[in-house]
């Protein structure tokens, strides 16, 4: 048994590439997510794309337009939450809690009408990274470039609306459109990452690496860099380890990011003493 064994399989290489790309995108987008206190929102969003996936499934089966179904559901729900919480009648997390549980249940209901219910649900919830095709990989890379490009283009504006909304208003920045754009980018990220860790473990990619970077740096650019390294590294290492340990790849990746966070937390504790 050689340490290079996993690399002889094309599906493994595709999986590793996908895990690395998704690790970077999730970490960078996740940095804004945790700074804006949207961790719960992103987790709920990951679940709320289920009905979109289910509908795509019902239309076209396993080879159906899953990604586009998820994308549609993700964007609609992201904008929906943005809209509902705008008036301030309900607290944001309350609105999210209500809406997403309902939408998630709708997704399960739709999927449960399928014959291959349990297998399909497991793939959506926990990812199926080794089943990624060349087309999937290209789609993931394409969307990742789009997401990172948008973040780079509006970086300084995103930082201002997150750090000091009053300043954004005094500068007459279009805060609301920017906020919606950020929500859509989070939705896109969630959809693109669905195949690697699945809806259930999404926050392990979106929140944990960003939180690790936050612990280790007091500067946003460096925080994002550390987060991206942790995300991509954990994606690759986790998937690689899952080959030998024979555990679910999504869980292996999620456990690796969690381990990174634990180490970073330990470092910050030591630094303080």
């Amino acid at each position: 048994m050689s340490l290079l064994d996993p690399f002889q399989y094309t599906f493994m290489l595709r999986g590793l590439a996908a895990a690395a790309v998704v690790g970077v995108v999730c970490a960078v987008v996740g940095s804004f997510v945790i700074l804006r206190g949207m961790a719960f929102f992103s987790d709920a969003l990951a679940h709320a794309i289920l009905p979109g996936v289910a509908v795509a499934y019902l239309i076209g089966g396993a080879g159906g337009p899953l990604l586009w179904g998820a994308l549609g559901a993700g964007i609609i729900t992201a904008l929906g939450v943005g809209f509902i919480t705008r008036g301030g009648k309900l607290k944001e997390d309350t609105a999210i809690g209500v809406i997403f549980a309902g939408v998630f249940a709708l997704g399960i209901a739709l999927i449960s009408s399928l014959r291959s219910y349990s297998v399909d649900l497991a793939h959506i919830l926990f990812g199926n990274i080794l089943a990624i095709t060349n087309t999937d990989l290209l789609t993931i890379i394409g969307f990742s470039v789009l997401i990172l490009g948008c973040l780079a283009a509006f970086y300084k504006e995103f930082v201002i609306i997150s750090f000091d909304p009053t300043h954004a208003a005094s500068l007459r920045l279009p805060s609301e459109p920017l906020r919606y754009l950020l929500l859509v980018l989070v939705a896109l990220t969630v959809v693109v990452s669905l195949q690697t860790v699945g809806a259930g473990l999404m926050t392990a990619m979106l929140i944990t690496p960003a939180a690790t970077g936050y612990l280790l740096s007091r500067r946003l650019s460096r925080m994002m860099l550390i987060a991206a390294l942790v995300g991509a590294g954990s994606g690759v290492v986790g998937l690689y380890l899952s080959y030998y340990v024979r555990i679910a790849s999504g869980a292996a990746i999620a456990l690796t990011t969690t381990a990174c966070f634990a180490v970073a937390w330990g470092i910050t504790r030591l630094r303080r003493h």
């Binding site: 700074l35 008036g87 301030g88 009648k89 283009a153 300084k156 504006e157 930082v159 201002i160 997150s162 750090f163 000091d164 909304p165 009053t166 300043h167 208003a169 005094s170 500068l171 007459r172 920045l173 936050y214 740096s217 007091r218 500067r219 946003l220 925080m223």
Partner: protein, 276 residues
């Protein structure tokens, strides 16, 4: 009622066409929270260019709301806000520098002092661009003016309360703001740091910047400001410090009393004596 008290300007006197020498003009402003609860009613005043004005009033008087309305962050139900004669909806609105309340900022946000100051340059930098040399120079000059050059690369959570306020003043300087709004800049700041902030504000005053500051601390407001506006959901009194801070006025703003207006002259009705 003593003769010293300047009567509050009635809406009829303030509602004139915008004068070029007016920095900020509020006409019949009323505002409410999202819940529908009223915060401000019939607020009228105008601030001349370069004037130093303190908005004083108890907690919950609507000072922060008033600033948010002036900045355009919060909608007002009635009336009009003009900054340098322009409304918020006009394209060429002049620059308003805003120093937020300490509690409004997440101090654990991972940004450095110089990054915060550079945020003042966003309009000059423009969309899809990064800060250029001129922007960095403006930020450095602004930090120098508030005496924080040495801390430029420090994270904002490493600063003291007074230094944090100065960072945001520097941001307004980098923004080349025509009007500077400071929301409770002295809360959580010691006397020495407070003096430092006043020195910076004096320099700005010499440079012709209009400064509007809110505070619930009457002592700091009296000495260094040309004009005081006593606010408690509406303008209770408006004028030079010594005339505004009469016992009757303060009781009206801070005690549980009601003030009515008749023909532009204030009449104070004592409804309650709960708070001395």
């Amino acid at each position: 009622m003593t003769a010293l008290i300047t009567p509050v300007q009635s809406p009829a006197r303030v509602s004139r066409p915008p004068q070029p020498e007016t920095a900020v003009m509020l006409t019949d402003i009323s505002a409410a929270y999202a819940s529908g609860q009223s915060v401000l009613t019939d607020v009228n005043f105008s601030i001349a260019l370069g004037e130093r004005t303190a908005i004083v009033g108890p907690n919950g008087a609507g000072k922060s709301t008033l600033f948010k309305v002036i900045v355009g962050l919060m909608p007002h139900l009635t009336g009009e806000v003009l900054v340098h004669g322009h409304s918020h909806h006009a394209g060429d609105c002049p620059s308003i520098g805003y120093v937020p309340q300490r509690e409004a900022i997440d101090w654990s946000f991972p940004v450095t002092v110089s990054e915060v100051v550079l945020m003042g340059r966003v309009k000059e930098i423009g969309w899809f661009r990064r800060a250029g040399r001129a922007d960095h120079e403006a930020a450095e000059a602004a930090l120098d003016q508030v005496g924080l050059s040495a801390l430029a690369e420090h994270s904002i959570n490493e600063l003291s309360g007074g230094q944090q306020q100065r960072v945001f003043i520097a941001r307004a300087l980098a923004q080349r703001a025509d009007v500077l709004l400071l929301d409770e800049p002295f809360s959580g700041v010691d006397v020495e740091a407070q003096a430092g902030i006043f020195d910076i504000l004096d320099t700005l005053h010499e440079q012709g910047v209009t400064v509007l500051l809110s505070t619930h601390d009457l002592q700091s407001a009296t000495t260094r400001f040309d004009r005081l506006i006593l606010l408690n959901r509406r303008v209770v009194a408006d004028g030079p410090a010594r005339s505004v801070l009469s016992p009757e006025r303060l009781a009206a703003a801070y005690g549980g009393r009601l003030t009515f207006w008749q023909d532009g002259a204030p009449i104070t009705v004592t409804a309650d004596d709960c708070c001395p």
